[in-house]
Amino acid sequence: MNADEIDAQIRMLAAERRLPPSHLARWLAMDAASRAALLDIARVIRLRTGQLMTALDTLEEVAVREHVTVAAIFDRPEIRRIAGGPGSAPSRASALLEALRTLRYPLLKRMQEQIRSEVAALKLPRGISIVLPKELASDEFTVSLRVRSAAELAHLLEALDRSRPGLARIIEMLAGKK
């Protein structure tokens, strides 16, 4: 396909998906290889409108952050694996967006994983739940206890007390203390 044919196909897909004109314009403003690469993956894994918009936004931001083209991002092994891998189109679409988000927010993703590991390592009993701040947008987390009896409460409070060092570590991590 030449560039004109690719652009025609992009316009056709954008019309089918009712992609907002501003997003279409940004897609068409990409270099030729990037335009074609996004078209290819959008078709293969059948990105829906919202997914296509999110992918476009995230791809552009990763490209700006890393000074690379969108085509170069699609050429990365972790992205190629999703595009050409097994699984249904919807599950691959979700996996693609998640992989792009990891590229866009590498430190946030790593920190979230580390804190989740700390929480898991606490091995808290059922009845105690820890809710971390969404996207680590705050240094505050919530601990809640669900009890039906005084004995249950005593048991959970003891468990919490035993977990104090681990909870303190989570507080320190949320406050950015290394």
Binding site: E60, E61, V64, R65, H67, R104, Y105, P106, L107, L108, M111, P133, K134, E135, L136, A137, S138, D139, E140, M173, L174, A175, G176, K177, K178
Partner: protein, 366 residues
């Protein structure tokens, strides 16, 4: 700094004012000057119709007008959810000839982006005297660098001379001139008598090159700080916005080292820090004007105050890195965080923030 103006509009009532005379005398002859009726001034401040970048075009339209609302106000960043530094804002101009990609004015002045200077700026002195008279025993820090850079237009207005002259004789008022320029010629010709501090926003070279268009390079800002310090001014530094890009920690430490090599820590009146924060509207405006600026694509998430901020652990870690570096410099430099809650202040500095009036006095006195 060099002004690249497309047009100047002078409100009729300001035509013979000292400020208009100074500005028109200092500008290149080929800039068209239009006199407008007082009632039409508002129109001259609006976005230029059809301009591809109305905000950018506004920076090249200078409007000399009377300010019809008070000049003096509490800092608009103050809010019950943030620890406040007690700063007062004196608005003598609106907009700025520099064009930083992250600047909040892109949203705040979207509807009236023309670069305005107020010919009746001397009326602000009455407001300041009233403030001082009504609060005897208090000391106020008053700055002109909120809606404009304090010195960016000083080569054509020389307003700094009038301000320094006024503040030098007021015991309980301290003037803060906040800038990203090295326009200090007028300052060097004046005696501030210890009542004027000049503060610079400092960013690493990477941020300067990527985002701070037409600003002076960081090393020039530091050199200018040393020059005004030697001329009897106090100096302060704002690391705001603090941008958490890859390599930021190392770059900010190098920047602080460069600063401390030139300005001894004991002679720094205070340091402030504030992480890059953008409302969704500002984020959209900034990215659309500067689509290739990686500094606008940090690991920012929507915080509870409705602004995008670097996710908390990373932001706090960067604050702490800078605070530790200053602490290791061996002098107790008063420091505060801008637009952060008391809990963050406590986490970074190890102590809760003091009340605004007290910190305001402390920063004003030095």
């Amino acid at each position: 700094m060099k002004f690249d103006l497309d047009a100047v509009f002078v409100e009729h009532g300001c035509a013979g004012s000292a400020l208009a005379t100074r500005i028109l005398g200092a500008l290149a002859r080929d800039v068209p000057v239009t006199h407008v009726a007082d009632s039409d001034t508002r129109e001259a401040t609006r976005p230029a119709p059809g301009a591809p970048d109305p905000f950018g075009a506004g920076k090249r339209r200078l409007v000399i007008a009377r300010r019809k609302t008070p000049f003096l106000a509490p800092c608009p960043a103050g809010s019950s959810e943030f620890a406040c530094c007690g700063y007062l804002v004196l608005t003598l101009a609106s907009n700025c000839p520099m064009d930083c990609s992250y600047c909040f004015l892109q949203e705040f002045l979207a509807d009236n982006p023309s670069f305005q200077v107020y010919a009746n700026f001397a009326d602000s002195f009455d407001e300041l005297d009233r403030l001082a008279a009504n609060a005897r025993g208090r000391i106020f820090r008053v700055g002109t660098g909120d809606l404009a850079d304090s010195l960016a237009f000083d080569s054509i207005t020389s307003i700094s001379r009038d301000l320094i002259d006024f503040f030098a004789s007021r015991e309980n008022l301290t003037l803060e001139l906040k800038t990203k320029t090295d326009e200090i010629e007028n300052l060097l010709a004046m005696d501030p008598r210890g009542r004027v501090l000049v503060s610079w926003t400092l960013s690493p070279d990477a941020v300067y090159r990527s985002s701070e268009h037409l600003a002076a390079p960081p090393s020039a800002r530091i050199a200018a700080a040393r020059a005004v310090l030697d001329a009897g001014y106090r100096v302060a530094f704002h690391f705001d916005p603090l941008i958490a890009y890859p390599g930021a920690e190392r770059d900010y430490i190098l920047l602080i080292d460069e600063l401390l090599d030139v300005v001894p820590p004991k002679q720094i009146s205070f340091v402030s820090m504030g992480g890059l924060r953008m409302t969704p509207g500002l984020r959209g405006a900034a990215r659309s004007r500067f689509p290739g600026d990686p500094m606008l694509c940090g690991e920012d998430v929507l915080a509870s105050d409705g602004r995008f901020r670097t996710f908390t652990p990373l932001r706090l870690s960067l604050y702490r890195t800078l605070a530790d570096r200053f602490r290791k410099a061996g002098a107790e430099i008063p420091s505060y965080l801008c637009m952060e809650p008391a809990s963050v202040h406590e986490s970074v500095f190890g102590a809760p923030p003091v009340r605004p009036a007290i910190i305001g006095k402390r920063l004003a006195r030095g």
